[in-house]
Amino acid sequence: MAITESILSIVLAEAEKRDATRVKTVKIEVGELTNIVGDCVKFYFELMSKDTLASGAEVEIAEVPLQAKCPLCGKVKRVENLDFICECGTGMKIIAGKELAISAIEIE
């Protein structure tokens, strides 16, 4: 819920800054490793945005896959089954999959 509150306040601030009459779409990027449930965000957003410029806006959620890079050999891989060990045996560092960002909004 705190996350959705934060999304709504960012969206409204941006819409007001641009004198929008309504927000049509909110596009969100969610990393695979975040604990965000897209349907919950959509549900809370609908409730919280009532009587605001964002009322009725569609929330689109795009998942960013988990990727890691080996600090030793530089190999990058898509992490599956939470396997962070590189082919060379080294523990890899996460380079994508922790995102939690509003990528774009569509306004009128």
């Binding site: 960012i10 641009r18 490793l33 939690l100 509003i102």
Partner: protein, 219 residues
């Protein structure tokens, strides 16, 4: 009209956390963000840590709970400054809540702050509180599969405390399986096997922490 934003949703939390981290560093305070599920033994662990360090360090505890001050009262009985945050439903602490406690702490005379996060393995890992170290406690009755179910918290933590090892003989918990899973997720993690009840393993945790605090104060 579409407007590209690429705005981090947690940016305002992260900004406050960065300010807090600067304050804690300037004052030489070591801050632990202690996370675990309900019943893993966070409060018992804090009490053990206090008992072992209270003669050497000035300690303060920030207790996060959805409601009640049960834990805060237990901790306060041990003679350390204790501040209760009731989140009123939120399943984690955020940086703004921690900022709100600073006025109740004597930062010039505090060496160690232990933040007991809300009991939950999911949300707390997402929120930076400006801490020096993130820790997670897992207890034997919860099972050795938890890192597979809640990987983020084990990836983010520098320390894993395995509590209630006195119960190992009564369960099918497999320490080697746990270590294999956790080391795969986070090869740099420090693991301590302890029992808050019997005090087994507490010494090695305390000596690790003392060493970290000593280095932190010097830096």
């Amino acid at each position: 009209m579409e407007i590209k934003l690429q705005q981090n949703i947690l940016a305002s939390n992260n900004k406050i956390a960065a300010d807090l981290r600067k304050i804690f560093e300037d004052k030489g305070i070591y801050v632990i963000n202690l996370m675990a599920s309900p019943g893993a033994g966070k409060t018992s662990f804090i009490l053990q840590t206090i008992e072992n360090l209270k003669n050497d360090l000035n300690i303060a505890v920030i207790e996060g709970d959805i409601a009640s001050k049960v834990d805060a009262e237990k901790v306060r009985e041990h003679g350390v400054t204790t501040i209760q945050i009731n989140t009123g439903g939120a399943c984690h602490l955020d940086a703004n809540m921690i900022r709100g406690t600073l006025g109740f702490l004597n930062l010039d005379e505090t060496d160690l702050i232990i933040i007991e996060n809300v009991g939950n393995l999911v949300c707390p890992a997402e929120f930076d509180l400006g801490e020096t170290v993130k820790m997670v406690i897992l207890s034997v009755p919860e099972g050795d599969d938890k890192p597979l179910k809640y990987p983020r918290i084990f990836i983010e933590s520098e320390v894993l405390v395995l509590n209630k090892i006195d119960l190992l003989d009564y369960t099918d918990f497999d320490i080697n399986r746990l270590k294999g899973t956790v080391n795969n997720l986070n090869p740099d993690i420090n693991i301590f096997e302890i029992s808050c009840k019997s005090a087994d393993g507490i010494d090695s945790w305390i000596s690790w922490l003392k060493d970290k605090i000593r280095k932190h104060l010097k830096s």
